[in-house]
């Protein structure tokens, strides 16, 4: 189980690094230093597909009707070092059946 846990950690890292918009310049160095682990993770998921699941959130038919929007300005924030809002959760998926452990 420990290998799987490690693989998952690397897998998440690779996904996280690959997905971000590039302000981590150390990524290339990181991927070289962890290249063996990254390769293991890549192959593990290619063969076992343990990360796959039905994307119910996007693959299910749904319609929104009578949409009422409220957007009220609160305040301006300056000098933040994060490119993304902290705690953003509008893409969160809670109903996935697939779990690793």
């Amino acid at each position: 189980m420990t290998t799987s846990a490690m693989v998952l950690a690397v897998h998440d890292q690779v996904l996280a690094s690959g997905g971000s918009s590039g302000d981590d310049g150390g990524f290339i160095g990181f991927i070289f230093l962890l290249s063996g682990f990254a390769f293991y993770a890549l192959m593990y998921f290619r063969y076992r597909n343990a990360d796959k699941r039905h994307r119910h959130e996007s693959e299910t038919e749904a319609t929104l009707l009578n949409m009422k929007k409220g957007d009220t300005f609160v305040r301006s924030k300056t000098g933040m070092s994060n490119s993304r809002m902290s705690g953003a959760n509008s893409h969160e998926v809670r109903g996935a059946r697939r779990k690793f452990f």
Binding site: F32, S35, A50, T60, M67, D71, A88, E92, F100, F101
Partner: protein, 447 residues
């Protein structure tokens, strides 16, 4: 339990008692008038005709989906033969004696599932989705009306069986509260040969690190056609999401010590979205085994991944679609599946609302999500899967069941192939060494 409509069931097709032991077909006896399973049938059968709400339930509306269905010999209307099966090429049922073809009625038409979801109020369930009564027998006994022998149908794997004596096929189409007969069925459409080719292709691409024993033993021809149990849910809800969103107004670099860093300015908004949502044909596994998708213990996630199915093309349940295939029985009820379905419906809702949040390029944080389900409709279905399974015996003595599954409607294929750990670790080690050397070289070159 006797059906209120006497024409809907021929007397000789009455189910008998259901012995747990698989006794050999006894000499035909006259069927006793008392029926031990009648009490447990009552819930499902009572509400036929005009759907009468059950008094103890808060106005659950039942769509009677097995009205007119009969058990026993299902005969070809042209020649009377009982050797009937699905013709995968046409999607029709075919009499294998006279080649006559026909189809069961579309479930959408028969049960009016196509209507405006906005008009759904309260809870509506197909009669084949009713709660499972634990005392209901798994093995059902029927009397063959051709020769009088008793025929057992093991509902854990089929709703059909052949009479040992006269070789006629007996079908079970009336619903018993054991989860075996669903409201509708989606017939196989992808032929077996196509499924075998897909599975071969999938595995061929994953040969190098595959376990040697698997490579030696793999035979895609062992694939099985299985109807797996699902619930198909329509939901009419009102939702109100509120929270905060951020819109970036400026990004710039600042000097911190020796390095340049990026900084962001943004406007913060209160965001509210208030709307109606119609979710259509949300599909959830209804077998407790298949709902367990812990990938360190099983590969049920593989079967989950090949969804969705075109459930709108499902037809009224008819056991003849089952010949040559097996099935797994539903064992989960609405109260167990509702939380799963509602959580997934919320995921779907949040996903759709994102299309109204384009302005908030830094993201939205919902702090309050109120979803009021006004109406819900539950229909049980058998959906078709070509399933190749491989039992791996691991060195630690444990076993792991790997699947390669093909959606027998869309052809979508997914699988799990056992890995040769030693080989993969060795090659990964090599890659690691090469990577470290590359990192050293890059550092030396000052990149």
């Amino acid at each position: 339990m006797e059906n209120p409509d006497p024409t809907s069931r021929a007397p000789e097709q009455q189910p008998l008692s259901s012995p747990q032991d698989q006794a050999p077909p006894a000499a035909p006896e006259p069927v006793a008038a008392t029926n031990p399973v009648s009490d447990s049938w009552a819930r499902g059968a009572d509400s036929s005709e005009a759907p009468t709400p059950e008094p103890d339930d808060d106005a659950t509306r039942v769509i009677q989906t097995d009205e007119g269905a009969t058990d026993g010999l299902a005969k070809c209307s042209r020649c009377g033969a009982t050797d009937i099966s699905l013709n995968v090429a046409t999607g029709n049922l075919r009499c294998n004696f006279c080649r006559f073809e026909w189809s069961a009625e579309s479930a959408n038409d028969a049960f009016d599932l196509d209507g405006d979801i906005g008009k759904l109020l309260g809870v509506t369930v197909g009669s084949g989705s009713s709660d499972i009564v634990p005392s209901t027998d798994e093995v059902m006994t029927f009397k063959c009306s051709a020769c009088g022998a008793e025929v057992l149908i093991d509902t854990a794997s089929s709703t059909q069986a052949r009479c040992h004596w006269c070789r006629n096929t007996l079908s079970m189409n009336q619903q018993v509260p054991n989860g075996a007969v669903p409201d509708m069925i989606l017939p196989f459409k992808v032929p077996k040969e196509t499924a075998i080719a897909s599975i071969n292709k999938f595995v061929q691409k994953r040969r190098f690190f595959a376990h040697p024993l698997f490579r030696a033993e793999f035979t895609a021809e062992n694939v099985m056609g299985v109807y797996l149990p699902y619930m198909v849910v329509d939901i009419n809800a009102h939702a109100r999401l509120s929270g905060e969103g951020e819109h970036q107004t400026r990004s710039y670099t600042v000097k911190v010590g020796d390095s340049q860093q990026t900084r962001y300015d943004a406007d913060l908004y209160n965001v509210v979205r208030d709307f109606d949502v119609h979710v259509s044909d949300l599909t959830v596994e209804s077998s407790s085994d298949r709902l367990e998708q812990i990938t360190s213990q099983n590969s049920n996630n593989i079967i989950n991944t090949i969804m969705p199915f075109d459930v709108e093309n499902a037809v009224r349940y008819d056991s003849n679609y089952m010949k040559g295939f097996t099935s797994e029985r539903r064992d989960s009820n609405l109260d167990e599946l509702s939380p799963i379905a509602f959580t997934q419906a919320e995921d779907i809702t949040r996903n759709r609302v994102n299309s109204t949040l384009g302005f908030y390029d830094r993201g939205v944080r919902w702090t309050q999500q109120d979803v009021n389900v006004r109406g819900q409709r539950w229909v049980s279905a058998y959906l078709p899967v070509w399933l190749y399974s491989y039992q791996q015996h691991k060195s630690n003595g444990k076993t792991f069941l790997h699947y390669v599954a093909v959606n027998a409607r869309t052809g979508e294929t997914m699988g799990s192939v056992p890995i040769h750990q030693g080989k993969l670790l060795l090659v990964s080690g090599g890659v690691e060494v090469a990577g470290i050397i590359a990192a050293i070289v890059l550092t030396a070159l000052g990149i």
